[in-house]
């Protein structure tokens, strides 16, 4: 389980996040930089639609992240949940 939060850590609690996805032109240029070729705005628009939908579906969970949550907690959770099986 998470350790108790200190007051200082509580100061970093944030309101629900708002994701800022890039605009299609920016993304098209970024993808061309990474993948080579020329900027493909149509591809960028398709990807933004797909990723935007995934982020929207994940948002209720993402907004539940606590500043104290760290990646290593997952292995610990698996151990603990196995013990209590």
């Amino acid at each position: 389980m998470n350790e108790a939060r200190t007051g200082a850590q509580c100061r970093f609690l944030m309101p629900p996040a708002t994701t800022m996805l890039p605009d299609p032109e920016t993304l098209a240029r970024k993808l061309a930089d990474i993948l080579g070729g020329t900027p493909d705005r149509a591809l960028a628009e398709r990807l933004l639609a797909l990723c935007g939908a995934q982020l929207a579906a994940a948002r209720p969970a993402l907004d539940g992240v606590d500043p104290m949550d760290v990646l290593e907690h997952h292995a610990a959770a698996l151990r603990e949940l196995a013990r209590h099986g």
């Binding site: 800022m20 890039p22 990807l47 797909l50 995934q54 997952h74 959770a77 698996l78 099986g85």
Partner: protein, 862 residues
Amino acid sequence: MDELLDGGIAAAARAMARNEVSARELTSAALARIAAQDGALRAFFRVEGESALAAAAERERERRAGRVLGPLHGIPVARKDMFDRAGRAASCGSRGAAAAARETAACLARLDAAGAVDLGALNMSEFAFHPHGLNALAGPARNPWDPARAAGGSSGGSAAALAARFVFGSMGSDSGGSIRHPAAQCGVVGLLPTRGTLSRHGMMRSSPSLDAAGPMARSAEDCALIHAAVAGPDPRDPDCVLPMAAAAVPETPALRGRTIARLGDAPLASISGEARLAYEAAAEALRAGGAALVAAELPAWDALNALAAIVFASEVAATHRRRLAAEPEAYSPEVRERMAAGFVYPAADYLDALRVRARMTRLFVEAVFARADALLLPAAPDVAPRLDEVMPGAAPRRYDAGAFTLATPADPGRFTRAFNYLGLPALAVPAGFSRAGLPLGVQLAGRPLSEPALFAIGAAFQRNTGHHARRPDRRAAAAAGPYAERRSVLGPAMAEALARTLAAPPRPTYRTDRSFEWNHANGPDFAGPWPVVPETPAKDFFGLAVRSRFGVAASIVLNSRWTETYARLGFDILTYKTVRSQARLCHPPPNWLFLDDRSVAAGLANRETPLALAARPPADPRTATTAGSFGTPSVAPESWQPDIAAARRALAPGQVLIVSVVGTARPGLSEADFVAEYGALAQTVAAAGADLVEVDLSCPNVARREGEVYLDPRLSAAIARAVKAAAGARPVLLKTGDIADRAQMAAFLEAVAGAADGVVMINAPSRPIVDGAGAPAFGAGRERAGVAGGAIRAIALRAVADAVAHIHRRGLPLKVIGVGGVASAADARAFLDAGACAVQAATAAAWNPYLAAEIKAAAPDI
């Protein structure tokens, strides 16, 4: 031996313990079965027979010395081609270069230590990145229950090899369902283990937070035995830290006392009716076996799917970003595009998706497993799709290949990928069959480290249902199988004789005992010696200088690799095999068979007279008559466009590249659009580098509208005009069949003169082809095939002579290229003497790669 290979690990182990069979005999029998049947299925990328037999011999020595390493001692298994094996290069399903591994992957080393015998590397999706197993390396594994269907992905070769009873077990990998999805679609068993219990050291990484190695087998008992051998902590995989109390399945696994959670209507609304029936039948079988069923919700299921997708995409992008930039040819366009999604998600969201993981796992386990030992879910939304439904460019697409980026109702991973994110184990088991006899599967998921319980429940379920024991009808695979294995038609003597023919010179560059996709990916089968090609004076070919007026017709020059080989062999007028505006699968093997000479002599003149297969291989295949049934396959334009450019670059001065194109007739396509499609294709191939554009108006074994366009002078002329307008200055050629009615031939020539520059004649005449029993030799629905080779030379010569005579008589601006049964300099000379401006070969060029060099030596003026 067949019975042993079809049975379970325990039975095979008992037989070896009683000295009824040796490890070598069992391995040899498995290798023979693979050799006999895998041509049609392509479950294996590489069979490593030599090392497998050596390992089996070592197992025998150990057994004689009283050292039996465990229940897997001497048991044939295989691996998905993404696990390292020291000294070998794992392809990961990609055409990109791969280096030989220095160390064997941890789970393979553990299988070796347990005595298993590794038979080789299995087919898989490109970089484990397609839910239906597609890859550009050798084409997807085909489903043993119906070779026209996918085996699933990404561990499709593993599932196909198990369903076909080639091996007893396989190591697969699963980052979102890649073990469980193909297991369900092939009717076998596969486990996603608890995260952190099975080492991934030496396994290709995609998404380190989600990737898992896992065992696959034909039964829960066998899967448990393999799992017991490979599970356990490994310091070389920092995530592999959880101890696994692996245990064999009890002798009499019971369902009584178990509580199974089942889903209600809402989450099951997205699966097909038949998958739903299988799910309900599975639930009822568990209840009837004594388990208590309780209703379960799937808390935050859409969010879990999305979280898994965000983590997967982001990590895959990070894993591949350098190689994507440095070695783009290692990736197919579709995979590149899908990987691009990972560059979109903000880093903060990716990190939060991982940070909230423990919280979501607790929520899920406490909600679902507080009062249940296991959760019953579908493993796939439907039966395996037909491959032509999921090929890139196929339309309409029933299945969403972009599933990793957006969950949709038909999303193949909707019930699998969340478990990779949660880190919970899930076991896919066979759950019955559709009305068409195709497998369906369910999953049993559990809390962390509950694998022993899942195996026990799965085994009890199997014993009550028997679905796992049903196996595909081998005759179905054989019917689609390679020529050499069509024993039901040919008999063993013919099959063996043909195998000898294929093994001894002259060997064809196109392996007729392998699939088209294999030949596309691996051919041509020619490693030299390279001939000394005589220097010959330049000749004119539609205004282009060529070294000879001889080349290869649209047939075996499948891609740039084939182009490069045939150019180096001295063939100067090369036709790149017909391409389409969308991907089209080849008909399943067999695709190219020898015909009986007497049957051909008696029946070839009549369009409707069936011609029989040869009873034995011909004495000289270079001049034999053959039947071909391919269906004018094509890779997607994204693949052939850059490849045509590469093919053009492979040519030397004095060599030219013709690219053949064909429109794809389909319901609802207007004639105007059909014509326009040819124009668009011509424009694309011209831009890609074609010196000339050939329009295929005559494929002998596809839809009538595509295959007999040349019999319609008006439509032929419209297509020729559209192509000419689109091809720029490039000469346009029209490929026709034999037009027996010479008045019709005259009408055709007059209609296309002025639009086209030349006519290529003749394409292989279409005839019914039957086997020894009088049944369609290529299978039902493929009654007709194109006849090529020696017997059509006379027909082609007459056609060329008559066409040239008419052209001269009417002063038409057309030239004729002769094709049909050309196997020697004398044959080529006969066509030139008949008025052809050039000559091409196909069958003879495949069986005699030295033909061009021979012709140049004998007749430098050709």
